[in-house]
Structures are given as C-alpha cells and as structure tokens.
C-alpha cells in the first residue's frame, strides 16, 4: 500500500488546494479542500494532458433558459466544487473527477484521509 503524507491539515483550509509536483516522476496530484471535504485528483487533464489542478475553481453553472428576455435564471450551484482545466476550460467535478462536458471523460481521483494532523493520500487503486 502506497500512502503519502501530503500536508498538515492547516496547510489546506476550505477553498484552498495544494499541488505536489513532481510526484513519483509524474505530473503529481492536487489536493482540494471543498467546504471541509478533502479530494485528491491527478494533475493531468484526461483531455490533452494539461495541468488540470492549476485551473480555476468554479461551480455547477446552470440556466433555466437563455438569458435574452429577463428570465435568465442563471445560477451557480456549489461554487468551488468544479475545476476548470487551464488549457481548454473543460470543467471537472472535484468530488468525483467526472468531466461535465463529456460523460466518457474522467480524471483519476485518489482516496484522502486525515490521520492526526496529517493529510494522507492513498495512491493505490
């Protein structure tokens, strides 16, 4: 079992992230604190291998209808729960790794746990 201590808990407060690069000679991983829950994602976008974890945080953006006649109802649900790759802006749900624009695309996720003050990522599947 390959487990790695990524950070102390105070290093990644809610809304923050820590990217560990390089990591085993690869592009590394990013650990995100989303409203108190920790998630780890591979720092390689499955689309074109961009540095996904360096992208902007956003939310589930939705609309009831096109915003051309005063009934836009444009909404952002769960701000901070979605990560956009800096290369082509493909959005990924941090909690699941699911790509929001292509159901066949998913970024690899890793289990994260807290042991005392340590944030620990399990690198094995």
């Amino acid at each position: 079992m390959t487990v790695v201590v990524i950070a102390k808990v105070w290093e990644i407060p809610p809304g923050e992230r820590k990217i560990v690069v390089p990591f085993r000679g690869r592009a590394g991983i990013g650990v995100f604190n989303v409203n108190g829950d920790l998630y780890a994602l591979r720092n390689i976008c499955p689309h074109k291998r961009g540095p996904l974890c360096t992208g902007e945080l956003t939310g589930h953006i939705d609309a009831a209808a096109p915003p051309s006649a005063g009934e836009a109802e444009l909404t952002v649900e769960g701000d901070g729960e979605v990560l956009r790759c800096p290369w082509h802006q493909w959005p990924f749900e941090i909690a699941t790794g699911r790509c929001l624009v292509d159901p066949d695309v998913r970024v690899k996720t890793y289990p994260v746990r807290i042991d005392g003050n340590d944030i620990i990522v399990d690198l094995d599947d």
Partner: protein
C-alpha cells in the same frame, strides 16, 4: 478583351498548391443509374418545390378592401427580395417559365410535368417564397401572408393532392405569425412554416418564441429557406458586389442561423420543434458540428442552457435538403460528407424546382448509396420528419 480573358483558366494536372485532380476516381463520376429518365423504383418525396406568386393580381381577391385600394393607389406590386433574379441561370431551369408569361414555378401544370412526373413523386412539399417578411407595414405583411396562404390552398393544394404546403408568415412580427399559423395550421396539407434564412434578428432569439410555440402546437415543421431581404447584408462582412457571392455564400447565413438556434437554446425551450434547412446545401454541416462541439466543451459555462453537445441537438432536430448540392468533382465526396454527418437520417431529397442546379433529371441526386441510406434520402427521412 483578349481571347484568353473569355476562357476559364483551368490548371492542368498537379499544381503548385498541391491540387491533384488525377487522384480522383473516374469510375465513380459516371451517372449513377445510367438512365436518362430517373424513374426511381423507390418512393420519392421532394422536399423543395417552389410555387411562385407571379403577380399581386393573383392575391387581390383575397385581400381586404383597404389593401386592394392601397395597392391600386400606390406603386406597390409585391415584396421584392429578388432572391432569384430572372437573368441568373440558377433561377429557372429551361422551359420552366410558363408560355403565357409569369414566374417560373408559378404554373401547377408545369410543376406536375416537370417536378412531379419525372420521379413519379409521391409527395411534393411546396415552399412559397413570397417574402412578406421584408414588408415594413405590419398589417399589410400580415394580410398578404393570409392572402398567399388562401391562394396556396385554392390554386395548389386543393387541385393537387400530391402537394403539401408551407405557410407564409410575417415572422418580423412573431405574434402575427402565430395568428397566421393558428388560422391555417389545422389544414391537413400544410406541413410546414417557411421562413427566409436571411432574418432581421437571428432565429435563436426569444423574439420568435410565439411563432415557434404555434408551429409546435400545430405539429408543423419550421422550414428555413434560401434568401430573404431583411435590410442588412447577406454576409457578416458587408454587402457583396455580385449575385455569385450572395448565391453561393448563402451557406454562411444558414450556418449563422444554425449556431444561433442551437446556442440560444431554441430546442431547449421547444423540445418538439423540428427545423428543415432548405436550399442551403449540406457539405458545410460536418465542420460546423465539429467546431461547435469542440468550443462548447470549453465554453460550457457561457451557454449553460445548452445541455448536450450542439451536434446532438442538430442531429435530433434538424434536416437538410440535398439541392443545391455542392457538386464536388468526385461523387464519392458526397458519401464521405454523409459519413461525416454521422447520421443517415439528416438528408432529404429535393429538386428545388424550378431553380436550376443540374442538367438531367437523373442528376438531381447524383450518387447511388447503400440501403437504407438511399431510401432514407429519397423519401423516408422526409416521411418521418414531416410525419407524412
């Protein structure tokens, strides 16, 4: 003028730009069925036959007294979009102008002989290009639309049961257009509402919602047809100098409308709306779908109401008629284009009578395709889409 200026400058063999026509398959360029008369053995549905109003006099009996008086007392004689200039070879195939005078496509007997008989056409869908949409007087536009639709019933649909009609509506005032759709939408032979592809406001805008709601309510297809005269140029970069630019370039207007309709969410607001793209060609569609899908992924947050890939909406809701075909130098390219559409449901046979896009009737659809694609294009896609 020097003699060489008259002759088209054709490059021979391979040229410096890499164009190498010798690579083409010559065998595939032969006429597809080897017959001079097409007489296909399969059913044929022609999705684009034009029925033209030759003169405002034909509509006068259907107009309110006020407008009859107005027309007699003014220089107004018809809405002029001039989509099909008389002198242009594309406007009318030889022999399609009635001997007694009037516009090509204005005579039912000639339509029977030249458009319905050669293919033993089971059903022909009329696209009346009477452009009331370019009339600024809203009441005149609405009354002329009603008159044109009554004229279509009396002069075309009632006498010829093989024909189906397209409602002319004043789309510049969508509420009035909706009234017109409600007036005639129950007529069993009207299967479509026809709009010119050149519009004052892009068709994705909510401005048109009343029109779309009415079309959906009456289960009518929305047909978007070549031409129109909304007052601004037919290209996004200004006015062209020649008809060639306007005519061949109309494909870019179709692309603008497809983008607007999908991206502004028309199909999300009207999940039952079906749109036929008529007389705009089809070879441009694969590249438009590729680009829209690609950019939609990165710009998803820009259009959150577009919930599926744009190509998915297009394949679900849109169909294209085959004429005018791009006439690629190798007919195999047509099959390649259909493969790139990634659907055998999207194309519908059409002659675009009386416009002249091919010389022999057998060239109206110049490729033999495998079944069921072949039957789909000749009839079944239209039968299903128009619910015929």
């Amino acid at each position: 003028m020097t003699p060489s200026a008259d002759a088209p400058q054709q490059r021979s063999a391979a040229s410096e730009n890499g164009h190498n026509p010798a690579n083409r398959s010559r065998a595939a360029a032969q006429p597809v069925n080897g017959r001079q008369s097409p007489s296909p053995t399969h059913p044929v549905i022609d999705c684009d036959i034009h029925n033209e109003v030759s003169s405002i006099d034909q509509l006068m009996p259907y107009l309110a007294d006020y407008w009859q008086d107005y027309i007699r007392g003014s220089a107004f004689n018809s809405p002029h979009a001039n989509d099909y200039p008389r002198g242009a070879p594309t406007s009318a195939r030889p022999g399609s102008a009635p001997a007694e005078g009037g516009q090509a496509g204005s005579n039912l007997q000639l339509v029977r002989e030249q458009a319905l008989s050669p293919w033993n056409t089971e059903i022909g869908i009329l696209n009346c290009a009477y452009r009331v949409q370019s009339i600024r007087q809203e009441d005149l536009a609405a009354d002329l639309a009603t008159a044109a639709n009554r004229w279509q019933i009396d002069e075309w649909l009632t006498p010829e049961s093989r024909l189906r009609g397209s409602l002319v509506v004043p789309s510049q005032t969508p509420a009035r257009a909706a009234e017109e759709i409600h007036r005639f939408g129950g007529h069993p032979q009207f299967v479509q509402v026809v709009l010119p592809v050149r519009s004052y406001i892009p068709y994705g805008n909510r401005f048109y919602d009343p029109l779309y709601a009415a079309a959906v309510e009456h289960d009518l297809v929305l047909g978007i047809n070549f031409g129109g005269a909304p007052g601004h140029p037919p290209t996004p970069v200004g006015w062209p100098s020649t008809y060639l630019e306007e005519h061949a370039g109309m494909a870019q207007v179709f692309q603008s409308q497809v983008m607007s309709i999908v991206v502004e969410g028309v199909f999300d607001r009207f999940p039952d709306l079906r749109i036929a793209l008529i007389e705009g060609g089809f070879a441009w569609m694969p590249s438009l779908m590729w680009r829209l899908d690609k950019e939609w992924k990165g710009l998803r947050s820009n259009t959150p109401w577009v919930r599926r890939a744009p190509s998915d909406y297009i394949r679900d809701h849109m169909r294209l008629t085959v004429q005018p075909i791009g006439a690629p130098p190798d007919p195999r390219y047509i099959l390649q284009t259909i493969e790139q559409l990634e659907s055998d449901k999207m194309l519908m046979f059409a002659t675009d009578y009386p416009h002249w896009h091919y010389d022999e009737d057998s060239d109206a659809w110049p490729v033999n395709l495998p079944e069921p694609l072949n039957a789909n294009i000749w009839s079944e896609n239209a039968r299903s889409f128009y619910r015929l």
